[in-house]
Amino acid sequence: MALYRYTWRTFGRELMLLLITIVFFSPMYVFVVLMMKSTPETYAANPLGVPDHVETANFTTAWAAGMGRAMVNSIIITAGSVVVLVFLGSLCAYTIARRPGRLSGTLYVLFLVGIILPTNLGLIPVYVVMKHLHLTQSYIGMIIFYSGLLVPLSVFLYTGFVRTLPREYEESARVDGAGVLRTFFRVVLPLMRPVTATVAIIIGLITWNDFFHPLIFLNGSDKEPLPLAVYSLAAQYTSQWNVLFAALAISMLPMLAFFLVAQRRLVATLAGGLRG
């Protein structure tokens, strides 16, 4: 029974693991230290020494150089996409899970195929159509695109969950005279809260950090989200690592806060959600 007991060998292994972890995260140390330094300090003999003060100018410079605006854009786009996908996904999944017959089965398979098929090939047709409809360089357009891109994931996660929900609550609500929509919003949606959290976390993460699609749909507009702002700021402040890293820190702040608040939930979601 020695395999899972804590012995001296386990201790040695743990020590080594901690050492590996320190090496693994050493870039993080560099990142944190540099964002606190003034520009001359970053070119001193030892730029990576522990800083004696925090150069707040880095952060104000970065904020003024577009990070502030981008933060607002990112929040609008991410929140919009999450809300739309929660409603689209849950409503569709409810229908698929609760409607007997072949149509539901076919739809479910179509959504599954949608998760697997790469979408890159369709990007140019989508881009051209959206441009004609004046939906590029717009919040609404970006949110609509994300809704299309991620709706299979949302429907898939919701359907799996609704299938495990007992029907009794909905049925008694209907017997009491509530309509379909009323039953859905008053009874079903509240019951879906755990899977809604999963959907929101995964879709929030994907949209918040996405660089590729905003580069296509929002590039050059005043609606650029954080990754795009970081990208143009990096080109503008070449070799001014302190300002660039301050900008990165700003862009990471909401995710970090979220990470600190909900790390358990998060890790469980990433393990379970990605497993499908």
């Binding site: 899972y4 693991l17 409503l91 229908t95």
Partner: protein, 316 residues
């Protein structure tokens, strides 16, 4: 509950109950039933983005459509150009090379970490959470951190100087021989934690009593790993390898952040070429053709992988 149709279709329905269900639907939705209308918006979006657009894209790959020219059928011309161009061929091979190495490195590291963390280690929870952090911070942001590390006046050279290996200093990103490896490192660092989490979830299913029994029976570490652990986490391996393969073949963010495809086009990948040809040069037809090549590559890789994994899963 006398309203049969709601419960009957749940059971594997015979002809009779299906007819009853259909009858019930015609006379208005039953109690626990939702009208199809609720699914329509989601289905339309699905069909538009995941089916109609890629199919349209497939057609445009055979045209010379561009910003200045309407689409005209040119047959295989785009593919001939792509495969005839030495730079484009190099980008294609580089993408496959990068993806293959990335898949191996990220999975081996992640599995090793997961196995180490699965033990009775005190800091297990903390470490597990910590390793996920880079994935949360995003591919672009973490790439910039690595850009500093690999900069000529950056972290790695500083470290080399400190330990007296001055002659090893390099302009890592500025050197065509090294730049791709810098990208690989940034990609692995960004995703190894996420991959590890999926392995850990898989390892949770490995019964510790089974492992103990095997150990008592004299199975060494390697045999326990090979015959028990590997067999039981086979599904996790399939998922991780597939995800990593797709990520590797579509590598874009880190390339754009670290090198932009340079120096002298030595880090161009299929994805950066798709982007540049299509959206910077406005060559929609040619860009879609490259995109089609990338899609086929991903599809072939995924199918081969799933087939191999399936047969291996069956074998073990």
């Amino acid at each position: 509950m006398a309203t049969g149709p709601d419960t009957a279709p749940n059971s594997p329905a015979g002809g009779g109950s299906r007819r009853r269900a259909r009858f019930a639907r015609r006379s208005g939705p039953g109690l626990g039933q939702a009208p199809v209308l609720l699914a329509v918006p989601a289905v339309l979006l699905l069909l538009a983005v995941h089916f109609a657009a890629p199919i349209a894209g497939m057609w445009y790959a055979f045209t010379d459509w561009s910003v200045t020219r309407p689409a005209q059928w040119v047959g295989l011309e785009n593919f001939r150009e792509a495969l005839g161009d030495a730079d484009q061929r190099a980008a294609l091979l580089r993408t496959v090379e990068l993806a293959t190495i990335y898949v191996v490195v990220v999975n081996v590291l992640a599995l090793a970490l997961a196995l180490a963390l699965n033990r009775a280690i005190k800091t297990k929870g903390l470490l597990r959470t910590l390793y996920v952090l880079p994935a949360l911070l995003g591919s672009l942001a973490t790439a910039y951190i690595w850009q500093y590390v690999f900069d000529y006046r950056g972290g790695l050279n500083l470290a080399l100087r400190t330990v007296g290996l001055d002659s090893w200093q390099q302009a890592w990103i500025g050197d065509p021989d090294w730049a791709l490896w810098a990208i690989l490192v940034a990609m692995v660092w960004n995703t190894v934690g996420l991959t590890m989490i999926i392995y850990l979830a898989g390892l949770q299913g490995v019964d510790s009593q089974l492992m103990e029994a095997a150990a008592v029976d004299g199975a060494g570490l390697w045999r326990r790993f090979r015959h028990i652990v590997l067999a039981l986490i086979a599904p996790a391996i399939t998922i991780n390898v597939t995800l990593a393969m797709i990520r590797g073949l579509a590598a874009f963010d880190q390339v754009m952040a670290l090198t932009g495809g340079g120096p002298v086009r030595s880090t161009e990948t299929l994805a950066t070429q798709v982007y540049k040809q299509t959206f910077e040069l406005g060559r929609y037809g040619y860009g879609t053709a490259l995109s089609l090549i990338m899609t086929l590559l991903i599809a072939v890789a995924a199918i081969v992988q799933l087939t191999v994994m399936r047969s291996r899963e069956a074998q073990i």
